[in-house]
Subunit: 318 residues, 2 copies
């Protein structure tokens, strides 16, 4: 059997037909062109979904269920209560998809949770029932899976682990709190930390690297470190310590089988992952346990979202 | 039907017969006298359990299941892998209880998790499926319940929310990390904060209060605050802020229906709970959600552990 996974993003809408081995059979995409009315956006979602089904050599009758990941908060009735960057307020997403696609089983979920599901079932999680996915991007996104199900909490706003404070009275976070993990461990935070170090170290090779790239990026300090630049090394060491701090917090609270770390910064590979794993090993509360949480790099990249969305039907019904 | 709940503590062993309304029908207790051999301790556990059953006017044939809460880490086979303060190492607790009580359904669980279950099912949780219990005592204990089940994690060491860092490079914690929530929000931490404030404020009424009580306690700063002592007010304000920080972290990660706060400090009642609730309301990520996590005072006190243990059979089989 087949299902459709949709990733409604701020930039693009992607729809993919996924088979029961969690493989993408065909996909189609179109720009979101937000802000637009929900009607227009959902018409485009339907259009690319029919397009993906046709590409797969199928019809909607072959589709068992449809899942969609969206930014923002989705309630139990499949209504997007609030999605800041789409300017959506109480959009009845589930019903709008049922009406347009003619498929009865439709599931809507937050996009970070879909990505977590995708990695847990079809990616690096390999079916792990207790799993956390963390994405180091503009913010620090996360999805928490306990006993095979997404932890939505009482109001479907659960899983915002990026907004756990690791530094009381620390850096201002966009959420209003001070000292959130996101304010130290996101790519945005790394860029801020890099810029601060550059100001303090006018001789650092980071200035040259940033000039060559045309901007300070999440790579600047890592590249400088590889050139032996002391200031770059310090930025990277401190950044990795911040990332590790939040990971260890999650290990101590939940002891999941796997925590996977994704986002652009993860392209650093072992340069990032090895020290993270060492920090976790040294500081976790469960030092005496024979079984330990694995800290691994995400595997599916951008596909995690659509695959996770396509799996929603399976997960929500179990 | 009836079940037995046992609380194996560092000081006392308590065994209670609990009915299907989660009420204690009869109980018996004896000193733990630790360190002793596991054989001796389990003989005493059996003795008080038979005593409790007799007091209830029942026999072991009326007992459907037995649950026990213990300090330390308990694995899936009911073996206490490690319990520091009982000097237990790989004690086959489940089998030892089956042998001594002749009841087949026996369940062993960490004591903080039992207390959480007790409050969730029979106390302030009133059956809440997503529930966190936090105890502010010598340390900060916690039990996390998701979808009606204890979050044990992959190695049965989950739920150690007291060991989530809220201050990178902060106060040394007994677990080895620096800046754990426990190092700021436990009764032990409050006493340390009170002593530090007393040193800095030789005129504070806290000196007099401590002299009258014969020691600095978790009450000293609260009592001083009630007398209008500025140093006392500052200690209490800061302490409540630390407690709130960890609670908000849990709200943002899990959005449980209820977080209950227990331990001796909670005797302060609304003096503690009202400002905690205000902090959570102001800082939680889910400011737009209609439904919000309730922050409430624990209800069952010391009974939470035995009642939770008695419920284990029901919860583990569902």
């Amino acid at each position: 059997m087949y299902s459709i996974g949709i990733d409604l993003g701020g930039t693009n809408i992607v729809s993919a037909v996924v088979n029961d081995k969690y493989e993408i059979v065909a996909s189609a995409k179109t720009p979101t062109n937000s802000p637009r009315s929900a009607q227009e956006i959902f018409d485009d979602i339907a259009r690319v979904s029919f397009e993906a089904v046709e590409k797969a050599g199928l019809t909607m009758k072959d589709i068992e269920s449809v899942g969609m990941g969206t930014p923002g908060t989705v309630n139990g009735e499949g209504v997007i209560e609030f999605a800041n960057n789409l300017v959506f307020n109480n959009v009845p997403a589930k019903q709008m998809l049922i009406d347009r696609l003619g498929v009865e089983k439709v599931y809507i979920e937050n996009d970070a949770n879909c990505a977590a599901l995708g990695e847990a079932y079809a990616g690096v999680g390999n079916g792990a029932k207790d799993f956390v996915a963390v994405t180091l991007g503009t913010g620090v996104g996360s999805g928490v899976i306990v006993d095979g199900k997404i932890v939505n909490g009482v109001n479907f706003a659960g899983g915002e682990c990026g907004h756990m404070v690791i530094m009381v009275d620390g850096e201002q976070c966009t959420c209003g709190r001070k000292g959130c993990w996101e304010a130290y461990a996101s790519a945005t935070a790394l860029i801020r930390q890099t810029k601060e170090a550059m100001e303090e170290n006018p001789d650092s090779v980071m200035h040259q690297l940033a000039a060559e790239e045309g901007k300070v990026s999440g790579r600047t300090a890592f590249d400088a470190m590889r050139k032996g630049d002391i200031a770059g090394i310090k930025v990277v060491d401190q950044y990795i310590k911040y990332v590790a701090c939040g990971l260890i917090n999650l290990v101590n609270a939940l002891q999941p089988e796997i925590i996977c770390v994704g986002g652009g910064i993860c392209n650093e590979g072992d340069t990032l992952m090895k020290p993270l794993q060492r920090f976790v090993q040294a500081e976790r509360y469960s030092i005496y346990s024979k079984i330990q949480t694995k800290i691994v790099k995400a595997q599916l990249g951008n596909d995690a979202g659509v695959i996770g969305a396509a799996i929603l039907g399976k997960v929500k019904e179990d």
